[in-house]
Amino acid sequence: MPFESTPSPDAGGGRVFIVHLCFPATFGSVREALENLMSGPVLATIPEADRGTAQIVLAEAMNNIVEHAYVGTSGEITLTLWQAGGEVACRITDRGLAMPDETLPAGRLATVDALADLPEGGFGWFLIRTLSRDLRYARYGTLNELTFVLNPDQSGANDATVSIA
């Protein structure tokens, strides 16, 4: 139960917004979910820039599931967002392959000298780590669960490349 601290919806005392989506793990469905989330009630009340951050992190996490967890097969993604006071907690699950070694990819940026050596991928986990906090991965039986809180403040951007498992 990763979100014991998120405000209970029935506790009263303010605005709480929750959305839960379950949809097929395809790039097209991920795009559709993101587009609708951006204008929906859960993210509509946070600042425009934070909505952009939310879209980056959610896109990276869910596209990785399509690309890696369900590589060569099909399945579903569930996405749950809790928003209260502008803070957005996220839970994403799938039933595909486990993360390599059942730990989160390091997400370090590569350093290269020549333009021709620049990587065309591998930015995903770097972006997720940079723009989130309390990032956790767990595998329960066949379920992969990723939980985190959106972190629109990027002052920790440099740390994110080093302080990782």
Partner: protein, 111 residues
């Protein structure tokens, strides 16, 4: 993937007329860019002012296009919207590409 390309002096300006370059469209983007840059001028400016979202697949596709133009031709960027700018900045790709606030004027400031 709708793109509009126009030669302006020594530049080929390619304007992406889509709101997103994302995992669902990155391959088509790369294909279209390959087509329109076949006989390109030495300087290609990618106008991203219509694009309000780009994810790491889109970023990878932009890097791939830059490499396609090597050696000899340069890819520059223009008109990054806030979320797109953030992706370039966080991944340090803003130090790899020359980034213009808007498409540079051909007569005024063709740097």
């Amino acid at each position: 993937m709708k793109v509009n390309s126009e030669t302006m002096g020594d530049m080929l300006v390619v304007r992406v007329e889509e709101p997103r370059i994302d995992a669902a469209g990155a391959i088509q983007f790369k294909e279209r860019m390959r087509e329109v840059t076949v006989d390109a001028a030495p300087r290609v400016v990618l106008d991203l002012s219509c694009v309000n979202f780009l994810d790491s697949s889109g970023l990878g596709a932009v890097v791939a296009v830059m490499k396609l133009l090597l050696p000899g031709r340069k890819l520059e960027l223009a008109g990054l919207t806030p979320t797109v700018e953030k992706v370039f900045r966080l991944t340090r790709m803003d130090s790899v590409f020359k980034i213009h606030p808007a498409v540079p004027g051909v007569l005024r400031d063709a740097v």
